[in-house]
């Protein structure tokens, strides 16, 4: 009976649960799914991580390439993030050129990295004007059960923590750039954690933490907050859907602060 209801009236199914104060998978409204992060397992990548958040699984791989820095910025390297949603991750995803969702996620990751200044671009330029690292950060969603944003940010941060940059030397006599087999640690300015909430108005406005795919599709809008370890906010994103009041934003902030502690713990365990 409930399976028919779930398939034929998915919006009502989610709504009835939220009205009663819990979710289809039994979680409380403010409860996040347990997160597990592991890093450094992909040996062909220079940095990597896998994040599992309930059923949502996201893999991140970082590849390094050496390049000449731009003439107008001779001391900075390049960071090129890309998020892919392959057709295997969910029945609704078709194969073909990147969808608007994938492009939005790529832009989101780029904004998080730039806004948080996680990496000092000067760290990526071992020899100014001659050699700069290009970080190709590829995030691939293997299983899409909602809230890829949070998983993707966790995967990127974990991969960056596992990244080791080879030391680069410049031989001025031979005018050659040599990549040695020594490694230099990449220091991250701070850790960031993303917390996304779905917003559903069932008479009162409810914030739903870490929505599943089923919930994400059927809600009025979503807010994402990216917080530093210190508690300061790095990025806030909400667009369209239900207009958000200041109160809702504040509640989201409070929830995000408590929830990010768990993810921070998981990130710190990696090293």
């Amino acid at each position: 009976m409930s399976l028919e209801f779930r398939t034929l009236q998915p919006a009502q199914y989610v709504r009835k649960h939220i009205e009663a104060g819990f979710r289809p998978d039994g979680r409380k409204l403010s409860e996040r799914r347990p997160v597990s992060i592991s890093s450094g397992h992909i040996k062909s990548a220079d940095g990597s991580a896998i994040v599992r958040q309930g059923n949502t699984t996201v893999v991140c791989g970082i590849k390094l390439e050496l390049s000449k820095p731009a003439t107008e910025a001779p001391n900075t390297g390049f960071i090129v993030p890309n998020v892919t949603l392959p057709a295997m991750c969910h029945p609704s995803v078709k194969s073909g050129p990147p969808s608007a969702d994938a492009q939005s996620l790529s832009t989101f990751i780029k904004e998080v990295i730039e806004s948080s200044q996680l990496i000092d671009p000067a760290d990526l330029c071992p020899i100014p004007s001659k050699a700069a690292w290009v970080l190709f950060i590829d995030v691939i969603c293997l299983d899409h059960d909602g809230n890829i944003k949070d998983a993707a940010v966790a995967a990127v941060v974990a991969s960056l923590r596992s990244l080791k940059l080879p030391r680069v030397e410049y031989d001025s006599d031979m005018e050659k750039i040599c990549v040695t087999s020594d490694f230099v640690e990449l220091s991250l300015r701070d850790l960031v954690v993303s917390s996304s909430f779905a917003v559903l108005d069932v008479g009162s406005v409810n914030l739903i933490a870490d929505p599943t795919w089923e919930e994400e599709e059927r809600v009025d809008s979503t807010i994402t907050l990216v917080l530093f370890e210190s508690g300061d906010i790095c990025l806030t994103a909400h667009s369209g859907g239900l207009p958000i009041s200041q109160q809702t934003l504040q509640s989201a902030m409070k929830l995000a602060t408590t929830q990010s502690k768990e993810v921070l713990k998981a990130l710190k365990l990696l090293k």
Binding site: S104, T107, K110, I233, T236, S239, G240, L242, I244, L249
Partner: protein, 224 residues
């Protein structure tokens, strides 16, 4: 309070310019600019949709000044604008039809204010096209500088030196339709910038009201 790079005070927006009905083939068009940060919007609709749906379908395309249509940032911006205007346009008004919105970003300094200009240009173009809307929205960019002071409508270079940047879109009922904040800020910063953002959006809505009124008066004179 010391003056900023262009002589403005912290609570002053850049001079706004807007015009409607500038493209003859489009059903509605408008250009909106905060000084040099300018966006041009063309609306075509209602059109025959590819797949008829109960509510009319909204398609938003964003093109940069260099002609780029499908880069991640333009597709992301288009998705954002679509989410905002799906709530502004009264989509059930014309079922089984399509409304196409094409936005051209006319400057490429990478300013945050381009998002705000795009929202304002689309709103004016919708009014020019006579598309049924349930509310009017206006967007504005706010910054918080290193001294913790709120700074309205930062320029491209000025924005690089700020501690955080917030782009807001509020409607005529003072409800927030879009918040994009980045940088480093606290909950208190968010509260202050939201209040300032709301007030600034009201100012821009007032400006848009003037533009529409003046155009209506001009059109009346032409008819007589």
């Amino acid at each position: 309070m010391s003056a900023r790079y262009d002589g403005r005070m912290n609570n002053q927006l850049r001079p706004q310019k807007a015009s409607q009905g500038i493209l003859f083939k489009a059903d509605g068009s408008a250009r909106f600019s905060f000084d040099k940060t300018s966006a041009l919007c063309a609306i075509h609709g209602p059109l025959e949709p590819r797949y008829p749906t109960v509510n009319s379908n909204l398609i938003v395309r964003v093109i940069t000044s260099s002609g780029s249509l499908t880069s991640p940032s333009t597709m992301s911006l288009a998705a954002t604008l679509r989410r905002i205007f799906s709530n502004v346009i009264h989509l059930p008004f014309q079922p089984r039809s399509e409304i196409q919105v094409a936005v051209t970003l006319e400057s490429d300094l990478g300013e945050f204010a381009l998002l705000a200009s795009s929202v304002n240009a689309i709103m004016l173009a919708l009014m020019d096209a006579g598309v049924a809307c349930t509310k009017t929205v206006a967007a504005v960019c706010i910054g918080i500088n290193r001294e913790g002071k709120v700074v309205l409508d930062p320029g491209a270079e000025e924005a690089k030196g700020l501690k955080s940047i917030h782009t807001f879109a509020f409607d005529n009922h003072d409800k927030s339709h879009m918040v994009f904040s980045s940088g480093e800020f606290t909950l208190n910063d968010m509260k202050i910038s939201t209040v300032t953002g709301g007030a600034a959006c009201r100012m821009v809505l007032g400006f848009m009201r003037n533009v529409v009124t003046q155009k209506a008066e001009r059109d009346q004179k032409c008819l007589l």
